[in-house]
Symmetry: C2
């Protein structure tokens, strides 16, 4: 089964992201706006309890995540996804590393760039157009996320929550 | 903010429900297939911790839910929603009662009929047509759900997971 690990920002920031995703992101209907902490990975359903245990341990070590969505940026030319850039704090980098060390399945291919995707799968010219517009609007939101979620994917591509982990530590 | 309490069946049963929802349920993209344990209710975001505590207590009392999706039925003429009927066991009725007693917000208007919606918002003639077809196919799935979820709704109508509660008791 395919799993992923995410943090959902506040309703307010999700609503803001959705105003863009509705128009520009074909994944809009598959999952609500999120910051990915571990890219989707395949794991046997019988091994999910080990993953839960690993995440419980991590969640007992880390405190709520302070995030600052500071500007609108793009992964172009690697992909043409546009996103709210989240400042890569030591805390975010550390929890990302901790998760990927504890759960080696489906290793990360890229450097970790914390972000919330708001547009993707456009043509190059749409991308340039939309990025130009969105950059002018910008984003500036600071908040605290006190939990992370283990999600799994259904056959139609949509994601269901498997489990929540409250961040109750102080790293 | 609007909250709801649900139990997600297995991926297999969700995938089956989605084969119908994709075609017949306009709420398809807003949330993955689920059995509602408490209808959507408004509660101030600052009160959500009280709700979490109440659900933690209930989840410590109840064991995993045994469900049997036994046939395809309809709420017609109250609404024209078509659903997998879940046999209303004492356990399901009890957890539904416990949740609604512990969280009085937005009291339930109907008798509790455990179900997973697979089609809704059709015209009456579409409803009759589809119900006839689906009844012939039927459904027969028994399984165990070991957790419940507190969800909240975004402005666009989609639902995000707030918290999971593992059912670790023995009621």
């Amino acid at each position: 089964m395919k799993y992923g690990i995410v943090a959902f920002p506040s309703k307010k920031l999700q609503d803001l992201a959705n105003t863009y995703r509705k128009r520009y992101d074909p994944h809009y209907a598959l999952v609500t706006p999120h910051m990915t902490l571990k890219d989707p990975f395949e794991v046997d359903e019988s091994d999910v309890n080990k993953i839960s245990e690993a995440l419980s341990k991590i969640a007992s070590e880390f405190g709520p995540l302070h995030i600052h969505a500071s500007r609108i940026s793009s992964f172009f030319p690697v992909t043409n996804a546009i996103y709210f850039r989240i400042e890569p704090t030591e805390q975010l980098v550390d929890i990302h590393t901790a998760i990927n060390e504890a759960i080696p399945a489906g290793e990360e291919k890229h450097t970790f760039v914390p972000h919330i995707t708001i547009a993707q799968k456009m043509t190059d010219s749409e991308h340039d157009d939309i990025l130009g517009q969105l950059r002018m609007t910008g984003v500036d939101a600071e908040e605290t996320i006190d939990r992370i979620h283990l999600m799994y994917q259904l056959e139609d591509g949509s994601w269901t929550a498997h489990e929540t982990f409250r961040l109750i530590g102080n790293r």
